[in-house]
Structure formats: C-alpha cells, structure tokens
C-alpha cells in the first residue's frame, strides 16, 4: 500500500474508540444506564458500587449489540471469548478493577470502508468492557466528587490497525464509525455527550524507513479536537526528528485551551494492570446459530442501503442527490435502546407507529405504475416541505400519498390542486389515515376542469379576456409574457383546477380572433 506523503513524511495513525453501548441496563448490573441529565449518583446499584458479596452478570442485550457492531464492522466473531480484570486504584473505579477483554476479545479482524476514499481500514479487535464512574476534582475544597451513574455501563473498545494516514482520514474513519454504530443501534455515536471517545496513536517516519515511535493521545471527545491533536502531534514529532532528537514513547493528552498536546506519562511509568481472568464470568460462548440470528436482525447499513436505492431507482431518473436527501431525512431516527426496532421496511405494515422516509418512499413506489422520480419529488418537496417537523408517516399514509400522486398523474387533479389538497390533509383535523383522497378531491371541488368540461374552461377564459382589456391589448402588441397574467386570472378563478397549458392555448386563440 502506498502511503500518503505529508511534507516528505509518512504519517501512521491508529485509533482506539470507546463507544458506549446503547442499552437500557449496564454491562454486568441491572442498574439503568444514565444520561447526562440524570442527577449524580441516581443510576447505580450495589454491583456498580462494588459492595461485598455482589457478582457480575452479563447483560445479554449488551452482547447482542456488540455482536451487531462486530458484524457491521466485518469482524470474525469469536465463539469463545473471556473477560479479564484490569487492576488499578483510582477513585472512579469502586471495585479496584475494570472488567475488560484483554486476552480473548469478542471479535477480531474486521474492517471499515472509508466512504469517500473507498479504502478499507482494518479493525484489529472489538472488546466488551465496563465504563468507569466519573470523578470531579474540586480544587477549592481539594476533594474528589464521585458520580457512580456511569460506573459499569457497557463499552465497546474498537481498535484499528495502524492503517490511517492523515488527520482527514482519521476524521473520516471516526465519522463512518459513528454512522455505522448508529445504523445498527450499538451506540448513539455522540462525541459531545461522551458516548464516543477516541485515543489516537501517532507516529511519523521517512518513506522507506520503519515506523517511528508512537505516542498515544488519550480521550479525544470531538472530531475537531482529534484532527487538531493529530496535527499538533505531527508537528511536534517532526520538530523533534528534524533536530535529530528521538520521539520518546509517551501517553499524551490534548489541551483544547492551549490547542496543543501535553505529556501524561512516559513508557517507563506505564501502569502494571495485573490482568487476571475474571473468575466469575468464565468463557463467553457465542454459537453459530446466535451469530446467524443477529445477522438476520441487522438493519440495513447506510452504504448498502444507498447502493441498493441507487441501483433500483436511478434508472427511473431518481438522482443520487435526491436519494441522499431522502436518506438524510432518517438521520435523526436512531434505533432504540437495546437494539429495538423503530424502522420497519416491511411494505405491508405501514400502520406501524412510524416509518422511515426510505421505507415510506419504497412503499409508495411499490405500485409499479408510479414514477419513482415523481414519488421522490412529492415526498421531498411537497410532503416533507409541508411537514413542519421531522419526517413522519403518521400524518399521511403511503397509501394516501399514492392516491394523490395517481390523481395528479392521470390529470384528474392539477398539480397546484394536488399541493393544495396535500396541505389541506395536513391541516384539517377531520382528515384521518382512512380518508379517501379521491373522495376528498371531489368534496373540495378540486377535480380538474379539463377532465370535466372543456366548455366551462372556455367560458372562464372568455371572462378573463373581457376582464383584462389592457393586458389583451399588450398581448396583441406583441408582449407575450402578459399571457401569464391572463392565465393566472383563470387559475385564480378556477382555484387551480384548470390545466395551465390548456388555458394558455385557449387564451391565445381568443386574443388572436
């Protein structure tokens, strides 16, 4: 693999991501997981506080989501993995050890494809582990305040091989990881709330030379800080190497006030974690059947979904941009806690609480007589435009929108009337999901005139010509654009039921004679 060259240096980056598992309960205790809004020390139990006599018990939902993430990242799921205790004394660790998967992680050897560059970034391993509590040091009283809400929450540690070559690639990797984990409901991916944190290993070397000594930058909690930290670190290491000094192996932090990295500890100070297999949790067995079950339950990955939509609908004139906008409508629609489905792609069950925009679109397109390009335009421009909220299928069913599209496509309702009808359906509280759109169009007198009687339209046009003598004169004098004003008068008079093209033709004939 040829590497990117930055000012004559190769940059080698590896990322370890800690992603909080989106489960209702913690990894080994039945206490609820917490949000930042929870008051301190309200979501923990005796297991999280490491009371004597308590024992851990693996939450199967966390395992399920870990398996989903592992499959989404193309990893080999290990049928036998195990848990280890990592020991250190710190106030945010009540038991004195963190349970992690040091010796035998749950999944190994995967990859994540960078969407724009198309390059595969190898995932070395994924391990399940516990989050720590939070300790906040109060410098005034010189005491540490401890909040156990986060203690024992489930984390996925996702470790890449040193495959990333630039800060931009690192940023793209993290964004793609966020999207992927969100898509399978394993993590909400929010770095600003601490749901995802990254440690980055950085080294640089001259082409043809072996990898340089790496430094690890800990706990980066935004993509912006991560890019900045990597740039600072590259500059620092470059300066050292250019002045013929060596880069000592270190763990560093990033100070976003000074916008620079700083030394946390050197390799010599690396803690002795005394890893020991956890004697309570034993071997974690995952059967082939279990893996298959998780695979069957996987929601579509964004990449695969996008590709399928393009393959299916581009031929009908649906643009990639339109598909991206459509998929974009679903970004706020995360999978629920414990991987529970909110999205339902089953085309027959639109009565489901709510559908994604993609499912809605495909549901309307299921009728092969409809033009997908037309359908997507209706959804993106009319329906979504008039829904003053996020996209929802709860206001107008795909069946109703299909009915409306059919009425317009068959010229029984003009396009402006159709839009009016749609707006009416969204605002009139008497309209239900069972209301027939065709009946509504009749009731509201919105059936196009062209399809009722052409003579009616003729007479309205005659009245228009009579009512607008100045415009008729101008038109006769050769000012063609004025015809629109006359057509507009007719459209207004017919409340949009007239077909503008037909009106135009009639008006031109009337004026000329």
């Amino acid at each position: 693999m040829s590497r990117l060259l930055l000012d004559g240096w190769h940059v080698v980056l590896g990322i370890e991501t800690h992603a909080q598992i989106k489960s209702r309960q913690k990894l080994f205790s039945s206490a609820s997981t917490s949000l930042l809004t929870h008051p301190p020390n309200t979501t923990f139990n005796v297991v999280d506080a490491a009371f004597p006599g308590t024992l851990p018990k693996l939450n199967p939902k966390c395992l399920f989501l870990a398996l989903r993430a592992s499959l989404a990242l193309n990893c080999d799921i290990q049928q036998r993995s195990s848990f280890d205790r990592k020991h250190y004394f710190y106030s945010d660790l009540p038991s004195g050890y963190q349970i992690t998967q040091h010796y035998a992680p749950i999944a190994t050897d995967g990859y994540l494809t960078l969407p724009t560059l198309g390059r595969k970034i190898r995932i070395k391993q994924i391990q399940l582990e516990q989050d720590t509590a939070k300790s906040i040091f109060d410098p005034q009283t010189r005491t540490s305040l401890i909040d156990l809400n986060r203690a024992g929450a489930g984390l996925l540690e996702i470790v890449t091989e040193p495959d990333l070559q630039s800060p931009d690639e690192a940023a793209e990797y993290v964004r793609a990881l966020q999207t992927t984990l969100r898509a399978v409901g394993a993590c909400d991916g929010n770095m600003d709330t601490g749901s995802m944190r990254c440690d980055v290993n950085v080294s640089i070397h001259r082409p043809g030379e072996p990898f340089g000594t790496r430094c690890e930058i800990k706990n980066l909690n935004s993509v912006k800080f991560m890019v900045a930290a990597i740039n600072c670190e590259i500059a620092r290491q470059k300066a050292l190497l250019m002045s013929s000094r060596i880069v000592p192996q270190e763990t560093r932090g990033f100070d976003h006030h000074r916008w620079d990295t700083y030394k946390l500890r050197s390799k010599e100070d690396a803690p002795e974690y005394r890893y020991m297999p956890d004697p309570n949790l034993g071997i974690l067995h995952v059967s082939v059947a279990q893996i298959q079950q998780v695979m069957d339950s996987l929601p579509p990955f964004p990449d695969a979904l996008r590709k399928r939509l393009i393959d299916t609908y581009e031929a009908f004139g649906v643009t990639q941009t339109a598909i991206d906008v459509l998929m974009g409508l679903d970004t706020g629609r995360d999978i629920g806690y414990d991987g529970e489905d909110n999205i339902n792609l089953d085309e027959t069950s639109y009565q489901d609480p709510d559908m994604s925009a993609v499912a809605y679109f495909e549901n309307v397109c299921a009728n092969k007589d409809r033009d997908p390009k037309d359908v997507i335009n209706w959804i993106l421009h009319s329906l979504h435009g008039q829904l003053s909220t996020n996209f929802t299928s709860k206001r107008i069913t795909p069946y109703q929108l299909g009915e409306l599209i059919d009425l317009v496509a068959s010229n029984r309702v003009t396009r402006p009337s159709g839009k009016l009808l749609l707006r009416h359906m969204l605002t009139d509280p008497s309209i239900t999901l069972e209301t027939s759109v065709q009946q509504l169009a009749v009731n509201l007198n919105l059936i196009a005139m062209s399809s009722s009687s052409k003579d009616d339209l003729q007479s309205v046009c005659v009245r228009a010509v009579n009512a607008l003598p100045d415009e008729v004169a101008a038109l006769r004098a050769g000012h063609y654009n004025v015809v629109n004003k006359i057509v507009g008068w007719v459209m207004k008079e017919t409340k949009g039921r007239a077909d503008a093209k037909t009106v135009r033709e009639i008006v031109l004939v009337l004026v000329k004679t």
Partner: protein, 511 residues
C-alpha cells in the same frame, strides 16, 4: 466477647423461645450465654428472631451464619477491621432461602478474616475456642483445654458442636468447612462448586469459594443442603438447571443400585484410598482411626482400592497462587470510600496518587494474614510473573481435575465427551486433618508450615470443585479429641457422599 453482643444474644434467645414450643428455663438461657462467651463463636446475634413453625422445611431449625455471608439485619464484618459495623443492604441468596424455609437465624459466626486461615485465630473478634471436652476430663468445662476450633469457619463449627445451633452455614475455599468440622467433631459438607449460590457471599477466591453446611448430623446437613441447592440467576457461576438435572439423575441411578445401603450392605461400592493423602506429617492416632473405619467399611462389603492422584503434590502451590491472586483482586474494593473503615491520611501525607491515600485505610484495616496473601497475589499477577505463576497454576489445576476424573466411576457432567471409567471408584476417602485440634496458645503457631501441610488434604477437592464431606469418627486413641474422615465424590455426587457419610455415622453409634 464484648458485653453488647452478650446482651444481644440474650435478647435473641428470649425472643426465640417465648414463641417456641420448646421450653427453656432462664438458667439454661444463662448457660447458653456462658457457653458462647467461652467459645467466642457468635460475633453478633439477632434480637428479632421469629419462630416459624414445624410445617416449614427448616421450621424450628436453629442456624448460625458465617460472618462473611451478607445479612441485611446483622452486620457482616468478615472478621475484618475494614468492615467493622458494615451492614449490607441485601441478604445473600442462601440467607433468604434459609429464612424462607423457616430456619431461625440466631446470629453471625466468627471466622478467619475474609476466610483466610485454618485455625480461626486471624479474626478481629478474637480466636474461637473449641467447645470439645473429653468426657473423662475432671475440669470444669469453662476451664477445658483451649484448642482451636479450626478455620476459617471456626465459629460455625463451634456453635454446632456446642449444641447452640442445629446447623450453621459457612464457606469453604480450601478446607474452611471440613477442617473445623473435623476439629470440633461435627459434620461439614463442602458441596460441588456452583450448586449453592454465592450471591451475597463475600468473595475471597471466587473460583474456589463454596457455601457449605456444618451440622450435628448428616440428616440435618441434607435438609439444609436440599433447601439451598437451587439455581440462582444472580450468581454467574451457579450451575444451570439442565446440568443439575443430568448430575442428579446419574447419582439417583447409582444410588438405586445400592438399595441395600440402608441395611449397611456396601456390596458394589468401591472406595478409593488416595496414597498421596497420607503424608509423613499425619499423626499416628489419625492414621489408626482412619484405618479402623476403612476396615469396618470393608467388613460391610465395600471394595477398598488404593488409588494415586499424581498431581496432588503440586495442588497446594497451585491453590495458593490462585487463591491469593483472586484475593488480591477481590479485596481491592476495600478502599474506605464507599463503605467500611476509612482512615484519613495524616497531615503532610503524600496525596499524589489515589493508591497512597487508600494505603492508610488498607494498612490499618487488613490483618497480617490477609496482607500476606494480598501481597503474594499481587506479585503473581504482575506481568513478569503471570506466566510462571498464575498460568502455571491454572495448568496444574486442570491436571488435578483430570486426575480425579480418571479415578471416578461417574463421569464429570461438566466436561463434555468424557469417557466414564467403569473400573473407577465411587468415592475417595482420607483423613480430614493431619491431627486433632491444635492448642490455641501453644508453641505450634499457625504461621508455621503445619497449617500448609494440613491444606494438602483439603485443597485438591476445592481446585476440582468436588463435593467433600467430613464426618466425625470415634477417636479411640490417645487424647480422644475429634477426628474426621473425608469422603470426596465426583462433581454433582453430593447425595452420594452424604449417603456414604451416613454409613460412617452409623458405625459411630454402633460402637
């Protein structure tokens, strides 16, 4: 024993007996109190005892609970200063099961700190004194010879031997039930690992810790065992229902084939005598009594065969590495922050590291034996020694288990595809202790090597997770102090070891 506790015991007994059909005079009440102050077995008693009624499975059964098993009504100190006064917010599953079955919990029993020790002398509550006195002694009982009750469940064995309780529960990590039972002359069962829930049992070494039962006889042991022998969701090491069924089914078939057991006909039963369990240090009286019991069993028709368990000599080292490593990990939580003892660092103390702040509490709160094992365990887990000590110990542990699987007739239901040994033995039998209870204040100090030699007899069954029961046998030799014989069975054969134990029990009553 302090005055406060004595008073509590008094109230507890009063509550117990006012509603009981049993009657007891105030003079015998006083006798109980005197008894306890002489054996120092209860460290705290229940002053709100409720009598349940005979219709409960354990109605009227008076129970003591080792002080490392969580009780929400009584403090749980593990005999450690670091947990002095600690009141758990929940009951251990075994405590709940006992209460639901109508057992009357009288109080918490003394033990070695966190279960570490074999003489019950490493306790913040002081040593337990063995209640035994030879019938021929002319001394007042209070002035009897002060001998150890054994450990770590010394208090549990002593309250049963002193006839204060019908049964007591304790824990056995490397012999902590069987040894005190043998020293005190009562029955002690360490069940198969994973049968009895450990939720609420304060961990010493999770992979070895078992809740066990000490009782006056096997039928009481069995009654308590049957109540506690249920699956518990909250203990991840608790054996699942299907393996339980498989094991009990196999044992049932085997026991049915010995239908004449009741008539003390032992034909068809093969008892293995492991040669490695008769070390040089074994006292003469123990050897003689064990031999005479074996001879009696043979005369009843049992087939006695010598067997060899080659890995036994390595078992002790493996045990100490594993138990200490797990202990160093399990005891890391006692930092004085969430609960228990907290020692404020003195002015000017080094506060640069969290561990330096915790050190003050931990140095003060842990006794010397606990500190010794934490240090040993910490060392064996360091990156440099992990492979040579901990991993090596795990390998030895597997060899020990394989040794047992080879000699038993029953196959180990926890190991798949194991080929049963048709010529194998049903149970193994060996002395529970290398000697009778040692003197408490004597020269033979517990810190010496003797305590470790003793462990050779009990730790292999712990490493393999096998059921083992110590049954008292009559000591016709020298001092007449209690001697116990151990019966070890294949995993899940708890009923079998108890059945054979009953035969030995009947030998005693016949003599």
């Amino acid at each position: 024993m302090n005055r406060g506790v004595t008073k509590q015991l008094w109230t507890g007994l009063r509550c117990l007996y006012t509603s009981s059909t049993r009657t007891i005079s105030s003079s015998s009440n006083q006798a109980f109190l005197d008894k306890n102050s002489s054996i120092n077995a209860f460290v705290c008693t229940n002053d709100a005892v409720e009598y349940s009624g005979d219709h409960f499975p354990l109605g009227n059964v008076i129970i003591g609970v080792k002080d490392n098993i969580c009780t929400s009504k009584l403090p749980t100190t593990c005999s450690s200063a670091i947990l002095q006064g600690f009141l758990p917010p929940f009951n251990a599953t075994v405590v709940k099961l006992l209460e639901d079955a109508g057992a009357v919990m009288l109080g918490k029993t003394n033990c070695d700190e966190f279960g570490m020790g074999s003489l019950n002398v490493h306790s913040v509550h002081g040593s337990v004194v063995n209640p035994f006195q030879h019938p021929s002694s002319t001394l007042a009982w209070e002035n009897r010879e002060r001998r150890s009750a054994g450990g770590s469940s010394g208090g549990s064995a002593a309250v049963v031997a002193a006839k204060i309780c019908d049964a007591a529960i304790g824990t056995d990590t490397g012999g902590s039930i069987r040894l005190p039972a043998a020293y005190c002359g009562v029955v002690g069962l360490k069940p198969s690992y994973g049968l009895l829930s450990r939720w609420g049992v304060v961990s010493y070494a999770d992979s070895l810790d078992c809740v066990g039962i000490i009782a006056k006889d096997i039928s009481t042991t069995k009654r308590v065992f049957d109540v506690l022998n249920v699956h518990d969701e909250r203990d991840p090491t608790c054996t699942n229902r299907s393996i339980r069924r498989e094991a009990s089914h196999a044992v049932e078939i085997q026991l049915k084939s010995w239908s004449n057991l009741k008539e003390r006909n032992l034909h068809g039963i093969k008892i293995g005598i492991p040669e490695e369990y008769f070390p040089f240090e074994l006292s003469g009286s123990v050897v003689k009594n064990t031999r005479s019991t074996i001879v009696s069993l043979k005369s009843l028709g049992a087939t006695i065969v010598p067997v060899s368990l080659k890995s036994t000599s390595f078992a002790l080292s493996a045990y100490y590495v594993i138990a200490s490593a797990e202990a160093s990990s399990n005891l890391a939580r006692y930092d004085g922050i969430q609960y228990g003892l907290h020692i404020k660092p003195p002015l000017g103390a080094d506060l640069t590291k969290t561990s330096k702040i915790y050190a003050h509490t931990r140095s003060k709160g842990f006794g010397s034996e606990v500190q010794k094992r934490i240090l040993l365990g910490t060392y064996s887990l360091t990156a440099d020694s992990f492979d040579n000590y901990f991993l090596q110990a795990l390998r030895v542990r597997r060899l020990v288990r394989d040794d047992f699987d080879r000699v038993f007739r029953m196959s180990n239901v926890r190991v798949s595809n194991q080929i049963a040994n048709a010529d194998g033995v049903d149970v193994l039998m060996h002395p529970s202790a290398i000697r009778t209870a040692p003197l408490l204040d004597g020269e033979e100090d517990s810190s010496g090597l003797e305590a470790y030699v003793q462990d050779v007899l009990t730790v292999p069954a712990s490493l393999a997770g096998l059921p083992a029961i110590s049954v008292p046998i009559t000591n016709k030799e020298d001092d007449g102090w209690p001697v116990g014989i151990s019966i070890v069975g294949q995993w899940g054969c708890d009923d079998m070891v108890m059945k054979i134990g009953e035969v030995i029990e009947s030998l005693n009553s016949n003599l």
